[in-house]
């Protein structure tokens, strides 16, 4: 199981980084969400992997460390919200400029002046 989880994290991270290095906003956003999946699984695994045990300190003989689960819950919520924000801003930038390149394209001089005037 360790091998499975570790390689899943590795593949997700590699694919995420590859996509983040693309130039258009859609692949970059998909890459970001792959990276956040990877980090969530990684956090989940940081408290050691235990099968079939409850994440509660109770009468059970064995238990899973509950803290990483709490961390993952927080991280999932935050990364979900962040992804929503970046989708909205990227959509706004795309609709405004009619192209979805992530990097700075050199704007024509006239555009620069018009933008400053606002």
């Amino acid at each position: 199981m360790e091998l499975l989880v570790a390689s899943a994290i590795g593949i997700l991270t590699a694919a995420g980084i590859y996509l983040v290095l693309r130039l258009r906003s859609f692949p970059v956003i998909i890459g970001m969400s792959l990276l956040t999946y990877a980090v969530n699984v990684f956090l989940f695994a940081s408290g050691r992997l235990t099968v079939g045990a409850p994440p509660i300190l109770g009468d059970a003989a064995t238990y899973t460390d509950p803290l990483p689960q709490a961390l993952v819950l927080t991280a999932i919520v935050i990364s979900f919200g962040m992804t929503a924000v970046v989708v909205m801003i990227a959509l706004g930038a795309y609709l405004g400029a009619d192209d979805d390149h992530v990097d700075d394209q050199a704007p024509p001089e006239a555009d620069l002046k018009a933008e400053d005037a606002t």
Partner: protein
Amino acid sequence: MTHWIIAPVVLPALLAPFIVLAARYHIGIQRVFSVAGVLSLIAIAAGLAWQASDGTIILYQLSDWAAPFGIVLVGDRLSTLMILLTAVLALFVILYAIGSGWDKRGWHFHALFQFQLMGIMGAFLTGDVFNLFVFFEVLLIASYGLMIHGGGNLRLRAGVQYVLFNLLGSTLFLFALGAIYAETGTLNMADLAQRVALIDPAESVGIRIASVMLLLVFAIKAAVVPLHFWLPSSYAEAPAPVAALFAIMTKVGAYAIIRVYTMVFAPDLDVTAGLHGLWLLPAALVSLALGMIGVLAARKLDRLVAFAVIGSMGMVMISISLFTQAGIAAALYYIVHSTLAAAALFLISDLVRAGRAHLNLTAAPPVSGAALTAALFFVAAIAMTGLPPLSGFIGKLMILDAAFGTPLAVWTWAIILSASLISVVGFARAGSVLFWKASAEPLPEEEGQLPVPRPSILSYSAVGGLLALLILHTVFAGPAYRYADATAKQLFDPVPYISKVLGTPGKLSTPKEGH
């Protein structure tokens, strides 16, 4: 247990939704509440700083849960100093935003501003690294909103880069936290400090990787070269008051480095020895050089200021990366100075924009009221480049003095001094093109164009207030340095901090077996 220390987090957190819900369509009421909130933040922060100034460590256990299990807020000299700086900066920024009408150019400026303050205050006060992450996200999500406040294509495009880069930073932060938790089983900073010291140096691979990842995250926030490239576009395109507030956000990164790398991964610790000393100082030197060369090369005033911010962060990081008491003390003095100076410069660049059609560094016909703006720019530029008599010069002297005798002292001195020269040339060029060459240009011919609105008195007084604070920081350099030195001393003696955080009783402080 006093409850005041949670007030800097709770007050903006309550005020922001109140502003959205109750005063949505009344900009006047929003302004009143926003300014009142910031004023009370200053009072609270000043009170806390006064309480912590004798070396007391203020501890707040949320819901009375004891430290390694519960969430704690901790106020020592360093964190109360930083929240006081934030609150004071916020007051002038919000006055400028009101005076210049920036807060009317989009929705919810004041609410986002309060959320931003909440995140910054929380990041300075929290006592464990996971909450540091959470407060980073709070301040970032508010900064995304503020960054694209007012709209515009260039701003949105710069916003996308800013958000994506910070998201990558957050992901790396979580990876680092996961690795730290896997190695130590705790995320409380005081607890970490104890447990990291117990790790066997032979089994230190995991914690060393985690330590470097964490340092990279903070270096991204602090815009240290080569992780700086998100900063110029985003700070230059952000609305000027927002960029001025962002001047404190790079310092959050510097604060986190000081906090974690003096307490948890202390410089004399065997497990993580030789990890950051090797490359942090050279990276900081390159940041300083690159920032100041950027100042010389910039073609627009707002870019110039953004590069000056990178340069000044390089200066702060040089001083931090010495990891000596004198170095940290000089860094703290310089952090206060460079925050105020950078904020003033961003606001001045907006004053310049108010009179000219654009911020390009080309000669343009003179406008009314340029003399006062020019005078303010002159003072702020002296402060930023570190010429005498202002606090930039004193701070630079302290850093040079702290670097004296270290192995890289020759390089440090050479780069700091030549970078100062370059930045003086860059600012002198910008100032002379913007303000002196203006009178050589003919006045515009046609009379039909609209009269340029002059910035209001409130805008000028906000900038003037920041510069007055800089002058005070210079005049009272002696007491300020003694305070910074006492703070650095407290940082290098973390035992009272650790025993206060872990020793204070609360729920679960003596966990019983079998429960």
